[in-house]
């Protein structure tokens, strides 16, 4: 932690997106687990994730970024899955 006289004048933050240095994944009580076989690539989980923790590479869904995922479960609830089989399951952390 910097002292007040070491900060940039006006406490301006010069590095955009520096919150990436603060990992919020430790908040998680439940962990979303992605079942690729049931995934229809609708990307709704990506659109509705409040923590930008669903990775998508070149339009294809990748795994979760557990460094930041807070485990809210919105993705699991909104996942349409394939033929009624959800592609995201919430599992309790530490089990």
């Amino acid at each position: 932690m910097k002292k007040w006289n070491e900060l940039v004048p006006g406490a301006v933050v010069l590095e955009a997106g520096s919150s990436l240095k603060f990992k919020t994944g430790s908040w998680r009580a439940f962990r979303p687990v992605w079942k690729e076989d049931n995934c229809i690539q609708c990307l709704k989980c990506w659109m509705f994730c409040p923590d930008m923790s669903v990775t998508v590479n070149d339009g294809k869904r990748g795994d979760f970024n557990y460094d930041y995922c807070k485990g809210c479960g919105i993705c699991a609830l909104e996942c349409p899955g394939k033929k009624g089989n959800t592609a995201i399951v919430m599992e309790e952390e530490g089990k």
């Binding site: 932690m1 910097k2 933050v13 590095e15 955009a16 997106g17 520096s18 919150s19 990436l20 240095k21 603060f22 990992k23 919020t24 908040w27 998680r28 609708c42 990307l43 709704k44 990506w46 659109m47 509705f48 994730c49 409040p50 923590d51 930008m52 923790s53 998508v56 070149d58 339009g59 970024n65 460094d67 930041y68 807070k70 485990g71 809210c72 479960g73 919105i74 699991a76 609830l77 909104e78 919430m90």
Partner: protein, 315 residues
Amino acid sequence: MADTKTSFRLKELSKKENLLESGHRMCSGCGAPIVVKQILMASEYPLVASNATGCLEVSTCISEYTAWKIPWIHTAFENAAATLSGVEAMYRAWKKQGRLDKDVKFIAFGGDGGTYDIGLQSLSGAMERGHDIVYVCYDNGAYMNTGIQRSSATPLGANTTTSPAGKVIPGKTQQRKDLTRIMAAHNIPYVAQGSPSHWRDLMTKARKAIAVDGPAFLNVLSPCNRGWRSATDDAILLARLGVETCYWPLYEIEDGKLSINFKPKEKKSLEEFMKPQGRFKHLFAPENASVLAELQAGIDREWNRLLAEAGEESK
């Protein structure tokens, strides 16, 4: 304006850069970052933002950590619109002097406390002066940041720490203020109501609001599981139910003309929206039936008014 139908495909959108980064400290399952990311993603212009005091402001920029990837100014509770007006005026002056030739747009974010209540006069002033800015209110229906105190956006009957439901009162005793209508009464070019559950609709509205020459206002429903006393995973579900029950109608007013963007085939009962929320739990007790009826009546009245103004038939 670009064709929104083709450009708002998830696959294409996912290739855009995140303008609100991970690592912010909004609560798990908060609706606000979903609202902000959808709006920022919709813009065709570089944006400069101001942010009124509120959850979004205190949680996205803590000490040396900022989640924002656009120039962003923290202002006080009451002056997000005034600050942004000044920035926009300076930008116009610089453009006139030839010091800048880039097209930039300006956007303010505030919660319902900073918009409906504390920031209302500065917002009204900015809209009246005609600055080319967009003001986005993410409405979670109370002062959630300071511990769930009632605001003028809190719905009738909701339990908050300053309208506690009990033997004396059944939660908040007043109806909520209709801010979207107040903003429409400023006769600005664009006013709309949106919800993150209907992301394509919200992004279309954000794109229009940003592109329009002159002031625009967006009021967006933003579920808060802490204040609404609901589960962490139901932000989008509740936002969708809010729209489908007509608690939060999706409509826009373009140059004075109102159009409804989502008409439910069958209007769902308000109870579906309220049941998962602990803040309304006491309203289902028999002695509070009249409050529930009054709330439903207020929502029906507003929906019928909207239908009439849009020239559509009510069901």
